[in-house]
């Protein structure tokens, strides 16, 4: 086999691999009640999804057969992806005296744009079932970092398939990008410390860097002083976002979205921090 034949073969194999990935899909049979309830507050708002795909750097090839050309079918992955973006773009109350952080922090963490929060990234999707999401730093100097969200955030029979948890994962993966931008090493277990250890019961553990309310001006969540006194971990950013959805979102956010966010926040806070638990959110009153 000569060089040209070799390149042709390699290209075919790679192209086949890409096509296979684009053709595979997660379960697309339904959407959770929380997804549907939030969806009903916009009824498939075109102006937003035409903005969202650019803001998140989505590439059509990644999302074919996943709702790219059926953006109003909430059973599919792209509609669920932008439904979660809608929550974090418009849903937060941003009360300086009560919220952990503001919309500008959460948006900058999730969106593709290069900023103080992270270098440029784009959102893709994977059919993996063993992760909620992944962050892959760029390999080529001219390329961009990649955030992938995975089937458990889209399959209607998994508890994290709801807009709060999905957007929470944008926070988590976006914060791995933050660690790369500022050269912090959070461990080699998928970007976390190995576990179980301390109060952490799973195999990817973080520290919780406790801080009060009104300690970070809105837009300044990215700031750190290189010590534990001013810092965030990926799971912590996720928990604080979920807490803000549960307790500090706009009046029109459906209770199913708030309650699932509180449930996710509290489960994570109890099981993912070495020096845990983190804060507990939401009222213990059942309804």
């Amino acid at each position: 086999m000569n060089l040209k034949q070799g390149i042709a073969l390699m290209s075919s194999v790679l192209a086949f691999g890409l096509a296979t990935e684009a053709g595979a899909v997660c379960t697309q049979t339904a959407a959770s009640q929380a997804d549907r309830d939030l969806w009903n507050t916009h009824g498939c708002w075109q102006d937003f999804f035409l903005w969202q795909y650019k803001a998140y750097g989505l590439r059509s090839g990644d999302w074919s057969n996943r709702g790219w050309n059926a953006a109003c079918n909430v059973n599919l992955e792209f509609p669920k992806h932008w439904n979660a973006s809608y929550l974090l773009t418009y849903g937060m109350e941003d009360d300086w005296n009560q919220s952990f952080h503001g919309t500008e922090d959460y948006r900058a963490t999730a969106e593709a744009r290069s900023s103080n929060f992270h270098d440029s990234l784009y959102h893709s999707i994977t059919d993996r079932t063993d992760v909620f999401g992944t962050f892959t730093p760029r390999f080529w100097p001219w390329d961009t970092d990649r955030v992938e969200t995975a089937c458990p955030l889209y399959n209607p029979n998994v508890s994290n398939s709801n807009p709060g948890s999905r957007a929470g994962d944008y926070m988590h993966e976006g914060w791995h990008a933050y660690f790369d931008k500022y050269n912090f090493d959070n461990g080699n277990t998928g970007g976390h410390r190995p576990g179980p250890q301390g109060a952490c019961t799973i195999n990817g553990c973080d520290y919780f860097y406790f801080h009060g309310i009104s300690k970070y001006p809105f837009g300044a969540m990215w700031e750190n002083n290189g010590t534990a006194s001013k810092f965030h971990s990926p799971n912590q950013v996720q928990v604080e976002f979920l807490c803000d959805v549960a307790d500090q979102s706009h009046w029109w956010i459906p209770l199913s979205v708030r309650q699932t966010a509180a449930s996710d926040a509290n489960a994570r806070a109890a099981s993912r921090f070495i020096n845990g638990p983190g804060y507990t959110c939401g009222s213990p009153r059942p309804w």
Partner: protein, 286 residues
């Protein structure tokens, strides 16, 4: 030998460039998403058009159907409508058929895997504060956790999913504020196999007793020694201002200096990105 090396390097270089171009070409393929029936109405108008405080009526004659509709409404309802839901639940609590229908709907949602719907149902049943409802919630909390399924980051998803629901259920048991059921909450605070449920049991037990010192003392013997920290854990609730929250946090950190995290660790810097994305279009007006 030298010529072979050059040839190998040249071929490797060509391959690298080809792969790089393929990666680049995937990156530039962009076309707009489309849909058949999109809405052009801003959400502010959609939301304004939704009538508030109009829950579907629940009646014993058609219990399952009407409870199903009520759970759907409740999921979509907003904080301002909580009092409306509570009034409807207080009335439904007097009708055993409706209480039974809530239990059946919760199990149906759980079996379908829709955690968000099951959470709503469990919350509503807990709010009803009925003896039968609390008995059901206790049985739900005691269900053995799944031992097989999909593992994500070392956590069995089916187990975590059920634990989240059981945490919601134990909050309902605690809300009854009944001595018999309180013993169950205290027991689960130390003995439930999932820390997610143990943590919620502790929080709910204390909250339902005004977070008093007496409640803390009563619960402490049940809580695992290594989890006594949960008795002092900081809770943030809707509407709580910075001063109140920060006071609690300061006291917590003072009482538990061991929760202080170590300083973060540095790694080698990576080269700056060559082509930063500068997209800064404002999102459409809500």
């Amino acid at each position: 030998m030298q010529r072979n090396t050059r040839r190998v390097l040249s071929r490797a270089g060509t391959l690298v460039v080809t792969l790089g171009l393929m990666s680049g070409s995937a990156a530039v393929a962009q076309d707009k998403p489309t849909s058949e029936n999109p809405s052009n109405i801003p959400p502010s108008r959609v939301i304004a058009g939704r009538p508030l405080h109009s829950p579907p009526k629940m009646n014993a004659a058609d219990a399952r159907k009407s409870v199903n509709a009520f759970i759907t409404w409740a999921g979509e309802s907003v904080v301002e409508e909580q009092s409306t839901a509570r009034r409807a639940l207080a009335s439904a609590a007097k009708q055993p058929e409706l209480v039974q229908a809530f239990m059946e709907e919760i199990l149906a949602a759980h079996e379908s895997g829709d955690t968000s719907r099951a959470l709503v149902g469990l919350g509503l049943l807990g709010e009803m504060r009925t003896y039968d409802g609390a008995k059901f919630l206790v049985e739900f909390v005691r269900k053995p956790l799944p031992t097989k399924g999909t593992v994500i980051e070392g956590e069995l998803q089916e187990e975590a999913q059920q634990a989240r629901l059981q945490a919601k259920a134990i909050a309902g048991v605690a809300y009854l504020r009944n001595e018999e059921f309180d013993r169950e909450v205290a027991y689960q605070a130390g003995n439930h196999p999932s820390v997610i449920v143990r943590a919620e049991a502790i929080s709910a037990y204390l909250w339902n007793r005004g977070d008093s010192l007496e409640a803390r003392k009563a619960l402490e013997p049940f809580v695992r020694k290594e989890e006594r920290l949960y008795l002092d854990r900081v809770r943030r609730v809707t509407g709580e201002g910075a001063d109140a929250f920060n006071r609690k946090l300061t006291a917590y950190l003072k009482a538990h200096p061991e929760v202080q995290a170590p300083d973060p660790v540095r790694k080698d810097p990576r080269p700056p990105e060559e082509k930063p994305n500068t997209f800064d279009e404002t999102p459409p007006k809500f």
